[in-house]
Amino acid sequence: MRLEVEITGKTFRSAAGGTQRVLAPVSFALQSGEVGVLIGPSGCGKSTMLRIILGLDRDFGGHVSRPPEARIGMVFQEPRLLPWRSVEQNVRLAAPDVTDAKLAELFRILELDAHRSHFPGELSLGLARRVALARAFAVEPDLLVLDEPLASLDDALAGRLRDEIATLVARRPVMTLLVTHSLDDAIRLGDRLFLLSPRPARIVREVPIAIPRAQRSEAELGRIRAELAALQLESK
């Protein structure tokens, strides 16, 4: 399976009647088993790009091709759970085919066992984020989209959830697209990093990371981080 994104541009009409360009031409492709990371300054148009890729926004130039049968799992920036359904129901409604065993395993990995029957309003943001992750993984997605899934969590929790995402992604071949502005998340999870410019967004540089995720030592990560920092200075 393969996701191909070829956006030639996207403009918004502002209330005053003018137009504003949000996306410059952007094109990239993603294979099964790959984690692509979009990194860019806030407000550069990352969320707009995701909405286009997900088919929520059809008013753009260019085209996005993803297999029509591809199942999508999504973690939005805000958890977007149904407040009137329990944690378990939230997951099952998005993934009706999920088996009890699979669900139990997901809840165990994400440490949600104690919260199955709670309503989202009773959860902390960190827990709600984990439910959103469980929901995205429960559908056994072919395309997994994570929109800043770790933002505004404390470092320890973010680190643990990042490891959990890595574990879950490693289980089955899935095209993963991660949006973040944390370099750390990007280099720990990504196979290919796409560095985006400020609005209108375009891909300034594509950085592949050849070392498999599980084998990246702290030293390697430090080297990649330094490399990226140099690149970002250069592009400014």
């Binding site: 929520l56 199942r71 999508i72 999504m74 805000e78 359904r85 309503f119």
Partner: protein, 245 residues
Amino acid sequence: MLRLLSFALLLAIWWIAALFVGAAKLPSPPAVLDVVVAEASSGALFLHLGATLARVSLAFVLAMSLGSAIGYLMGRVKLADRLGDPWLILLLNLPALVVIVLAYIWAGLTEAAAIAAIAINKLPTAIVTLREGARALDRSLDEMASVFAMPRWRAFRHVVLPQLAPYIAASARSGLSLVWKIVLVAELLGRPNGVGFEIGVAFQLFDTPRLLAYSLTFAAVVLVIETALVQPFEARATRWRPRAA
């Protein structure tokens, strides 16, 4: 407890007022109770109450289901809103009496005319409330349902309907009180039975105890329906909201 006390106070004021005004204008509570018992033992009370209740429930169900569907459509589809809005304003401002009289003229003094007239009176408020509800729907949850490819019916039942529930409950509650006021007018003008008919008769005879006996029993029935049906539904619809400690 406090509610009971407040109810007792109401009874006391009534009784004292009755002593001052005289039994012809305001009979005392026991006098009214006597009439209630007499009417109940002859069976007339239940016949009239039943007739009115049947009309209320039919008109209520008709207006709620039609009004909810139209209101939802108007809240979701701009074109429907544009087309329907002038009609809605007209209906909202049409006096209940006009609708009832016209219905009787056009459809005869029939049961169908009465029920339709009552339903038409309730319809626009149900539409307005549900339209507000549909406009307030959370788009981010719609997007979630769409990304996860939820089938239309599942999304409606689990994503949309729970958001509409408070509006449906509000519309049911205000609608019930509206229907109960209007059904009596419709019965007074063109039905041979029902609480409204009895009140019309009592009015012609200046029979205040009878008038109070019928209206108070019906008020009691409405109160029971409100506490036994509408409030539990509301409580269930909002049970996911974290309760204030």
